[in-house]
């Protein structure tokens, strides 16, 4: 996994609540059996005027000029500023893959849906929850300073935007994994003996959980 230490980049404002994972990556692209190549179809229904499909060349499609990510400089943005309950709905990790493949390294919102939040950390995408009042201010800042860059410092747990710096919270364990780009399967397997011991105990106390054993 790509490690995350500090990142500075252009901030794109996506001003609507409850952006769901169907909107981030529509169903027809979930048929892929790969983890890469979803970026051109991130926010597909909003980004293009015609309907896409896995076998259609996106270069031939009609771009929606009103959608923020089609407007320079936001087409080069790497930080997404969003509203509450970002990433709600389906558990599809393809939504995170689409955002990272587009180039995003962080998403700032007042709140995130739980599954999307977890999926982000597995892919080096940092979801940052800030108070709704702070997010309001950031939207205003971006609106008046198109192309403004924010700096995210994971070690310090801060977002620097203009003259202000805002602290954000993160679990120590998630922070550690992200700072070091750790593969958490490898970490968990360091506890293989503990898992085996748990399992053996459960086979005695709850044998119905081990059918076919």
């Amino acid at each position: 996994m790509q490690a995350f230490t500090t990142h500075t980049g252009i901030v794109a404002p996506l001003d609507r609540p409850n952006v769901d994972t169907d909107a981030i990556i529509p169903k027809q692209y979930l048929k892929s059996i790969k983890r890469s190549g979803f970026g051109p179809n991130a926010f597909d229904d909003w980004r293009y005027l015609d309907e896409g499909a896995p076998d259609i060349d996106n270069a031939t499609r009609r771009i929606n000029p009103d959608f923020v990510l089609n407007q320079p400089p936001y087409d080069k943005s790497t930080i997404l500023l969003a509203r509450e309950n970002f990433g709600c709905g389906s558990s599809r990790e393809h939504a995170v893959w689409a955002l990272t493949d587009f180039g995003f390294r962080a998403v700032i919102a007042p709140s995130f849906a739980d599954i999307f939040f977890n999926n982000s950390f597995k892919n080096g995408l940092l979801p940052i929850a800030l108070d709704a009042s702070v997010v309001d201010k950031l939207f205003a800042l971006v609106e008046h300073n198109s192309g403004i860059e924010f700096t995210v410092d994971l070690q310090a747990q801060t977002v620097t935007a203009g003259d202000e710096s805002y602290a954000f919270a993160i679990d120590d364990f998630k922070k550690h994994c992200l700072l070091n780009g750790l593969d958490d399967i490898g970490l968990t397997l360091q506890h293989a003996e503990a898992i085996k011991a748990y399992e053996q105990n459960r086979q005695q106390t709850a044998p119905w959980l081990f059918p076919g054993k």
């Binding site: 409850n18 309907e51 999926n119 399967i185």
Partner: protein
Amino acid sequence: MAKTLYDKLWDEHVVRTEDDGTALLYIDRHLVHEVTSPQAFEGLRMAGRNPWRGSSILAVPDHNVPTTDRSAGIADPVSRIQVETLDKNCEEFGLTEFDMSDVRQGIVHVIGPEQGATLPGMTVVCGDSHTSTHGAFGALAFGIGTSEVEHVLATQCLLQKKSKNMLVSVDGAVNPGITAKDIVLAIIGEIGTAGGTGYAIEFGGDAIRALSMEGRMTVCNMAIEAGARAGMVAVDATTIEYVKNRPYAPQGEILDRAIEHWQTLHSDAEASFDKVVHLDAASIKPQVTWGTSPEMVIAVDADVPDPAQESDAVKADGMRKALAYMGLEAGTPINQVAVDKVFIGSCTNSRIEDLRAAAEVAKGRKVNNSVKLAMVVPGSGLVKQQAEQEGLDKVFIDAGFEWREPGCSMCLAMNADRLEAGERCASTSNRNFEGRQGQGGRTHLVSPAMAAAAAVSGHFVDVNELMSDQ
């Protein structure tokens, strides 16, 4: 110390805990489908790993499968490759799969309980957000992403932070004709789509206790639409009766031991919750969503709400966008809104009880001429078989519905079943998001009986009024 049901399920499955509270949680049952697993199996292969406990896995293709004649296979080559990839992965790693030709094939959240593969007290995961369904059995069940699917395959565990406890109590009895779907839509309307974020929700109260297992599954299925990864209902006699004698359920002496334990799977009387929400069951009317989020829901006798009345600016803007997408005017009575298509199915509402409820409305009536397509998609091959034994297929076909093969179908339109741009659908599924059932499609979530009522009327209608007009 008094514990909630969630506390009990959590504590029983913790293998170890990090200093910051992140726990390694043991997973008893891993359900797998074709869409969110290929990259996980690929990761496993690349790292030279094997599934930790293959017998915990039950796999089934459901999202991409056709609901029409399957003898020629899947026409869409991309869908076909995904289903074939699941077949190959299961074969390579020696995992149990109900493939497309197996009568037990169906929607993963229908077949798990149907087979007794979902048991009370289990931790159940699947790369699908509607895994919360299985919480109906007093299990801790939640959806995971593909990286977590790989993590469970490789380690039989997940790294998790414990959620907070929420109790949603639906007090008293519902009125006749009010179903589990109406209850859960009313709950989401009350607490909002982010109301359960960060919580595990236990559904309780007389109205929940009175529900069948099918009804409880419908309620827990949509816990995720309230933002909660996990929803659950305490074990009682209804749960145990349902589980007994299913193919994967324990038998004999082990069943007796299991039941003894299952009877402890309820919140202690003194247990405290971080949040408690009460709903008055008698006040719940048949529900219809009007917008593009499940929280945008009203009673069938209400009018489409007006954003001008909403004080929160972000919310009001969201409502305006939803009205524009849905092609609706504020103030329109929802029961005057006409539908183009009707979909009865999905992991929310495709079980035998759902089909019976819809058939009762369809019986002796005809799908309205203005409706282009009304389809019934059973949740599994076994649900389909049972429905056919009861003659429900004939009721639907006589009324002008299409009777299909099992799968996820038009809930998310990954197969050929979909809405065209601008088409309006009465759907028994769980998400009314933009484009969910097809780009530009307009989804209204309702119960099976309400969907059937819309099909025969051509517009939304209170099913109780329709039935009393006989």
